[in-house]
Symmetry: C2
Subunit: 212 residues, 2 copies
């Protein structure tokens, strides 16, 4: 870990920073926006609470007051950045089982296809790959809000593992298409990719994991 | 990009550094070992040619003499680190098509299962996710030495895309199991994971990508 900015004073619960003229109804939102920009631009390791406070125009103590320590600010920031993908359980639920794989594949690859939703995801992946604490915060979010809820919709012998293996396939496609950019996958028509990936995802989501 | 160490003098072809007492038969190997450690420890962005030279006990100009600029040193370093995975085309070739998916899945997940081969791969992924140049160097290696050669062994309508989608599934499993460490996948018995993933990989490697 690189040297982070010194932590601000310990969080004082129940003591809103009324004396800070920058505090107010918009302060929490401004801090969250500044935090997302700071984590995306510099990664979890190098992001500093001072810089987030500066970006939001508030005192560092107010950042700590609203969000707690750095990892909790990161948790709040990625919950916002990851929000588009969190619709996945509803996508799984809303429709019949026969097109489940196609529906989830189209939805998740679509989130990665749009630069507006892709870039925040890429920033989270960069932080998680580089830093164990960031990986743990992301893991907690993905487990609670995505995997557990998708698994609740499945009727396989091992729904948690099934949902994670389906997710693994989609994560891998996103990595090779949008991060490593291996050709021909990086330039392939998205409909062809969906058509080739959906049956594998369908199998994970609907079939028992019997060997061979 | 963070500030890298100043580049050493331009490469002088055909001029071995005979005057450098540290040059010699072992110098190239020492430089390569030091480069792998430097890139793994600090990532592509922050790795410096000076530090590599210091690690190898040679002059920075000798690093440049043997390997050229930073991205070519990185290419040589990851070719060594990635060597275990480069056996995949032989694994695909050596055996019948009926167990192809199981064979490739077992081989690639096995490379990720062993910490000795996993850690260098993780270091490459960290550099590639954080830096476009590192991603391009890795992409070139993966395309030439892995994807094209696996594709040569396949009998599908679109073998390059098929081999990349099979790889995508395995990369995604490795990311969720070893980087994000999502449970239950992270602790699942590897034989159960292989049994559940192999049919999807088999389908990519042997079946046409027909929709539905």
């Amino acid at each position: 870990m690189t040297a982070a900015a010194p932590e601000p004073a310990p969080r004082k619960r129940g003591r809103p920073a009324r004396t800070d003229p920058a505090a107010g109804p918009g302060a929490r939102e401004r801090i969250l926006t500044a935090a997302r920009a700071e984590f995306a631009g510099r990664g979890y390791d190098k992001a500093s609470i001072r810089a987030i406070a500066r970006g939001a125009g508030v005192d560092p103590a107010l950042v700590h007051h609203y969000f707690g320590p750095k990892e909790q600010i990161f948790a709040a920031a990625i919950e916002t950045d990851f929000a588009p993908a969190l619709r996945a359980p509803a996508v799984v639920r809303d429709g019949g089982p026969e097109a489940l794989g196609e529906r989830l594949t189209r939805f998740i690859l679509g989130v990665w296809e749009d630069p507006a939703t892709r870039e925040p995801l890429l920033a989270i992946v960069r932080s998680a790959v580089a830093n164990e604490t960031a990986a743990a915060v992301f893991r907690d979010l993905v487990t609670r809000r995505l995997m557990a809820r998708v698994a609740d919709e499945l009727d396989t012998p091992d729904p948690r593992l099934s949902s994670e293996l389906a997710a693994a396939h989609l994560v891998g496609v996103a990595m090779l298409r949008h991060v490593i950019k291996v050709e021909p996958l990086a330039s392939a028509d998205i409909e062809q990719v969906i058509a080739m990936v959906a049956p594998a995802v369908q199998r994970h989501l609907t079939a028992p994991g019997a060997p061979g």
